[in-house]
Amino acid sequence: MRVHIDVNGERLAADDVWEGESLLYVLRERLGLPGAKNACEQGECGSCTVYLDGLPVCACLVAAGQAEGREVVTVEGLASGDDLDQGLDEVQRAFVEAGAVQCGFCTPGLIVQAHSLIESTPQVPEDADIREALAGNLCRCTGYEKIIDAVRLAATRKAQNKAAQKKAPR
């Protein structure tokens, strides 16, 4: 079947999609977006986390046909370029700076999930809230401490940016 999905702001079509195929497979293998990672295929690891209509979900558990006509944002869609100072989202930049990346496999899912937490929390989240939000994202390298550092850093910067924008004269 053919499936149309709004991916990172662009209307894309995938052909010859098998009816039992996941959104993750379509993103990676048919639409050339390998950011979301394929690992457990059962929603346990969170490495395939993407936004579906604004909510973070495991792309491996969404049937491709269920994404028809809907909006998907992947980790690729959070960045406007790959320049460390300009193009990356605050969360991506913080992961680089805090050393929250080792093998990197869990990183895209963690970044989307952390992005969602920060966007939906007006203040800088408490550590307990960060841990709760990231409970479905497994990392087998870092021990999580630097990941939590990165989320705290990104949240602090986003809060500062918002405050600065409010103060700035228009």
Binding site: S22, S116, E132, A135, G136
Partner: protein, 287 residues
């Protein structure tokens, strides 16, 4: 495999009537695992996502009608005060990503004895609204679970909503697992106090072929509690309640836990959940 995409509820019923072997898919958190891991391959998927009416809930009198598409995240955010037991259980489901997709109706459709929704649904006396092209049927929750991963739905029926009585007293859910997230229950327990009827509701999860109530424990406790005086809970009564809850279970040894561990932890969870609930009730004074 076919992918069926009804846009309205009536269309969904028509599809299911014509293709009773089609597997309904809502959040996909169970169905897609089966397909991804090649444990089963449905002849057809019936996607219920486009049917927007399923994503609503409404308070109808003293009952909340929860549409089959209401996710755990929304239940936690919107129904915590009306349905505290179910919302507590929803908070323990999977991860945020899973709770953004999974639904109580999906839990019912899968009918796993370990599903987190079942104990609070049993404790509060929910009713499942099932429908087919032949008509609508209201199935009391106690009659819904018929075996391991089996339920009372006919092949052409779909779950449209779950009707859950709004809480009239304290409700608690407790669950044993190896960590605080992403856990399939080793066993679980829910209690609901129904002070108006001087009745206790219970639900046991993951400790029998189906989720079930502990009826003898409910009846014992209802007769022992000081409903009017709201005096402190007798520890002997609480302990006996725990024992009766464990006696109502018939667990097995499996990869998640041993039967004797499940029985012991059930009695502890029941005693503690009762303690929390009674503390709330007694603390409120005479209503």
């Amino acid at each position: 495999m076919d992918f069926l995409r009804p846009l309205t509820w009536d269309e969904a019923l028509a599809y299911k009537a014509g293709r009773p072997e089609a597997t309904p898919i809502q959040g996909g958190t169970d169905v897609m695992v089966e397909i991804n891991l090649d444990k089963g391959r449905p002849a057809a998927l019936l996607d219920l996502n486009p049917i927007s009416e399923l994503t609503g809930w409404s308070a109808e009198g003293r009952t909340v009608r929860v549409g089959a598409g209401v996710t755990y995240s929304r239940l936690i955010g919107e129904l915590g005060s009306l349905l505290p037991g179910l919302a507590q259980a929803a908070r323990t489901v999977g991860s945020p990503q899973i709770r953004n997709r999974g639904t109580v109706a999906g839990n019912l459709g899968a009918a796993s004895p370990a599903g987190d929704s079942h104990p609070p649904l049993l404790a509060s006396g929910a009713v499942v609204e099932a429908e087919s092209a032949r008509g609508r049927r209201m199935i009391p929750i106690g009659e819904f679970y018929t075996g391991v991963k089996r339920n009372a739905l006919a092949p052409d029926e779909l779950i449209r909503a779950v009707h859950v009585p709004a809480a009239t007293g304290p409700q608690y859910f407790s669950k044993i697992g190896t960590r605080n997230a992403m856990v399939i229950a080793v066993c679980s327990f829910a209690i609901a106090l129904h002070p108006g009827e001087r009745r206790i509701g219970t639900g046991i999860g993951s400790a029998a072929p189906t989720p079930r109530r502990a009826v003898a424990a409910e009846e014992f406790l209802a007769g022992e509690l000081d409903w009017d005086g709201r005096s402190a809970l007798d520890p002997g009564v609480a302990r006996r309640f725990g024992e009766l809850v464990a006696e109502a279970a018939s667990p097995i040894d499996d990869v998640r836990g041993r039967a004797d561990y499940r029985l012991h932890s059930l009695s502890v969870m029941a005693r503690r959940a009762l303690g929390w609930a009674w503390k709330d009730y007694a603390g409120r004074g005479s209503a």
